[in-house]
Amino acid sequence: MQLGFLVDLHLCMGCKGCEIACKVENEVPLSTWRLRVKYVDVGVFPETKRTFTPLRCNHCENAPCERICPVSALHYLDNGIVNIDKERCIGCAGCVMACPYGAIYIDPETQTADKCTYCAHRVASSMMPACVVACPVEANIFGDLDDPISNISKYIQSNSDVQVRKPEKGTNPHHYYVGGGNVQLNPLASERVEGYSLFNKLTTKMPVGGHH
């Protein structure tokens, strides 16, 4: 079994329901995010378009975070999930430095690394990840990539523009996007102007790395 995610960016409407569901399900502390939806505006008024891109851990097949972890706190599960054992983590932040997707952060409450686990605890009980359930337009498709008749496999077979983020890193992500362009998938393809961040004025209990 190899679990994977696919986001159909044609469907995503940027409601951020997945973000909130993830925070509630995993008790993600204030100012930290396992999953977030990034808005990028493209073009010049009146010819503008807003894009929405949910970003989470890619559960890479060749995960640099797992490789650099000195104590195997980051480890593969049999179903392909890259999981984290917070009791084992020593907080060296090597994984934060290694993940090319900025998917890991140091939890300000536990002072250990944290990231999306594809809701491994729910999956173990045969439930879908919280973000999948919350999405009102079923833009998040989750399933077994090894099973040719799973929803995700069929989606990949029937779409020609399936992409992953930063394929040149050789990480082989198990997280795909349909309908994404350079602007959505490449962080260097858009500008960041000061002041358009969520909660960017937070000053207490700031996490290290990841998204804050």
């Binding site: 290694a98 998917a103 358009y196 998204h211």
Partner: protein, 304 residues
Amino acid sequence: MVHETLAATHAVVTLDVGLPGIVWPWLVTINMWAKSIGTGVIFMLFYLLKNYPSESGNLRFPTTVVAIVFIHIFLLFTLADLHQPLRMWHIFFYPHWTSAITVGAWMATIFVGLLFALAFFSAEYGKILKKNDAAFDKLLFWTVLLAIPVTLYTAALMSQATARELWQMPTETAQMMLAALLAGSATMILLGKNLSYEAKSSLGVILGLSALAAFIIYQSELVFGPMKAEEVGAVLEYIKGNGEYATMFWIGQFVAYLLPILLITLSRVGRSESILQLAAILALVGLWIVKHVWLIIPQLLPMS
């Protein structure tokens, strides 16, 4: 290429979480800097004992002490940088051998053990401790051998940080070795007050050549780095023109490399030991600045 795309699309992030802060801060700079000194002096002691045995014999003990002190500064700051320092023991009980952090921690521990053994063979204290130069020199050979991977493992660790394209180059390995040679020779110039001018001047040559090689590599990366990867190009913008770290980068290049090269040349003309010592101090201060800039700039880039 991305710059053209940016101009064409006018793509602007309009809502997102804030950018990550610095993950590995100045504590890691001190870590690298102190380790360069701790291993570098061992290389230099070996060199002096081979080439100037009569006058460098009494440097066995003080050099070992300096190495022990700086390796402990390195270990202390490594520990201080952990968010869960009390769990450090996990590295020894749950080691993950693909990680350069694990391999480095084990090697550094053995290195510390060898340094204490060297101190034991070089100390003289009443009837309790007796010097044993032959045993010291035999052990020093193995310590030098281990000092090489201890110096280089940080480059392996940095290249395992796949997200930071700037550190992916094999040149980082050369820079780590050059930093150890530079820091080791500079510290030895300051430590070996009783060495002859010839011995000090040969240390000055090592310092000057290491500085020159390191400077050339950094300048090559500045010019050719962007051709390797888009991310490297974006990172190097922080040290070009009005970049956030441009001033600090150039201060580092001048203080660590260019001024010491100039001063060492001057000291050779006038056989001046004080100018040589000034070069050594500048090199040590500048090395910290250079390492810090290189550590911080790839962390400023948004990853997602």
